[in-house]
Symmetry: none
DNA sequence: CCGTGCTTGAACCTTTTGTTACGGGAGGCG
DNA sequence: CGCCTCCCGTAACAAAAGGTTCAAGCACGG
């Protein structure tokens, strides 16, 4: 479902329009896409025509009114946000291209777009050894929680990965006080995670959320949320940027914990070797 | 130094805001810049706050109201339209430097460096519905196998994720014939995975390997190997590029299986809904 | 425990906006 | 020459938007 380039159809169907309508189309194209978000009056004045003419052009293009047109514009902006390269590289074509450009770009935009303050808060929470850390994820995003868990258990104690069982989950948040619940929730969001987060909040827990740009419902109760891009060359959303976020968090937590973490890692290593688990 | 990047000031001044205002800012950033052109009511609803809160945030940022803010947004859109490169040097108050450049670069180099022939072979193997597919991973890389498993089971049948238990693993490769064993093995490599791969080969299985650039020992017995970069800003190796490889493979397999996969996905969806598992 | 500050949401009001209906005018064909 | 058709702008209308006020809720400190 490649979204129709609005500027394209504007150019293509330009000769079916009346002279005055063409003037409007020209202005729309010249200031694309910003002027599309102006009001009818402004567009009309800039085009040197009058209000209804603008409406008539939009009607001819198949829009029910200015709001309808603007909604289409917004959608196109969103898609463009998804693939900034596509703007200047109109040759869509090969899947190999999209695969090699989309994901790195998404990772970059995700990391560059992380508010430093939010990241700091998350790191501070996870590095606080007085708090218990509970990790949970949805169907796919559970692998993120697992990955984070694998790292965190090496850096500190009292880190628990919650499984799918509701009772176990409930028990984990039950004995309240100063715990941190980190929720990974991506489309399609799972209602149970919201319930769990609410329960955690009710027990005075702190809720950290990893989600996509459409924002899981858990956002409402979350104390901090880290948002990832999910653009992908495939039909599925990508979890790659989110994983990059996880690794970034881990790196920061390691930095925050410092020697304490290194000691623990060494101790774990030793214990494992003593038990002969590494063969 | 053109017009101040709105997203930047939004991020920078995010901690002077009240909790509810932060929610609004996050929504604004997550859907940047399109949602900025929505109405107050819509933005408020999406943020889970109420109208006046949106206005208060804008007021705090120095705008006289939503129209004022939207005008700034339009100007920024115009400037961006003028200088396309501005998209890439927007590193304002966000996370560190190495973190935002290393990972995307590693992902890019990994995907660009994948030999097309190898990728095609892997896809062909996984898309061959006559073969059983066995997935296995190491301590950390197991999450990759899990992730791949989650996707593949939706696309085709006879996909098994092996767990850590040696007996189960052995049983899976025991009943021979055209199976595909996909091994994820990254530093530090696990000897047991090599044993398993050897056993699979002995039963006339095909071995596919996902590994890092130092090449797991499994390479020797693998029929195909996909190599990922692992550069990371932290002390650990990164699995982000490898995950990008997994997603790329999934996308290709979906393309290869085509309608058959879509039918299966629909069937799974239906079955899950019938069982009421989605609540 | 009580008050004080800030924060937030509900209701209301005002303005602006999009939209529609109508009339005038230019151009083309009979 | 006159009529018809198409196109365009003015004016009025209804709807929805942004903005303001006020009171309740909450955390914090005395």
């Amino acid at each position: 479902m490649t979204v129709a380039e609005l500027a394209g159809v504007l150019r293509a169907r330009l000769d079916e329009c009346s002279p005055a309508e063409r003037k409007v189309a020209r202005v729309l194209l010249a200031g694309y896409p910003a002027v599309g978000f102006e009001t009818v009056a402004v567009i009309a004045r800039r085009s040197g025509v009058s209000g209804p003419t603008v409406l008539r052009l939009l009607d001819r293009l198949g829009f029910r009114g200015l709001p309808d047109f603007q909604q289409a514009l917004r959608r196109e902006l969103d898609d463009r946000q998804a693939s900034p390269l596509a703007l200047y590289d109109e040759r869509d074509g090969s899947a190999g291209d999209g695969e090699t450009s989309l994901l790195p770009s998404a990772v970059h935009r995700t990391l560059a777009g992380l508010p430093a303050a939010d990241l700091d808060r998350v790191v501070a929470l996870l590095a606080d050894r007085r708090r218990r850390v509970l990790l949970v994820g949805g169907r796919f995003s559970r692998v993120l929680a697992e990955y984070l868990h694998l790292h965190l258990v090496q850096l500190r104690d009292r880190v628990v990965l919650l499984d799918a069982d509701p009772v176990t989950r409930a028990a984990a948040v039950a004995d309240g006080g100063g715990h941190v619940l980190l929720v990974c929730d991506f489309r399609r969001y799972e209602p149970r995670l919201l319930d769990l987060a609410r329960a955690a909040k009710a027990r005075r827990g702190t809720v950290v959320l990893l989600t996509d740009r459409w924002l899981s419902p858990v956002t409402e109760v979350a104390d901090v949320a880290l948002v990832s891009q999910v653009d992908s060359p495939s039909a599925y959303d990508s979890l790659v940027p989110a994983m990059a976020v996880v690794e970034t968090v881990v790196a920061r937590v390691l930095g925050a914990l410092g020697d304490a973490a290194r000691e623990r890692m060494a101790a774990c290593e030793q214990a494992a070797q003593d038990a002969g688990l590494l063969d």
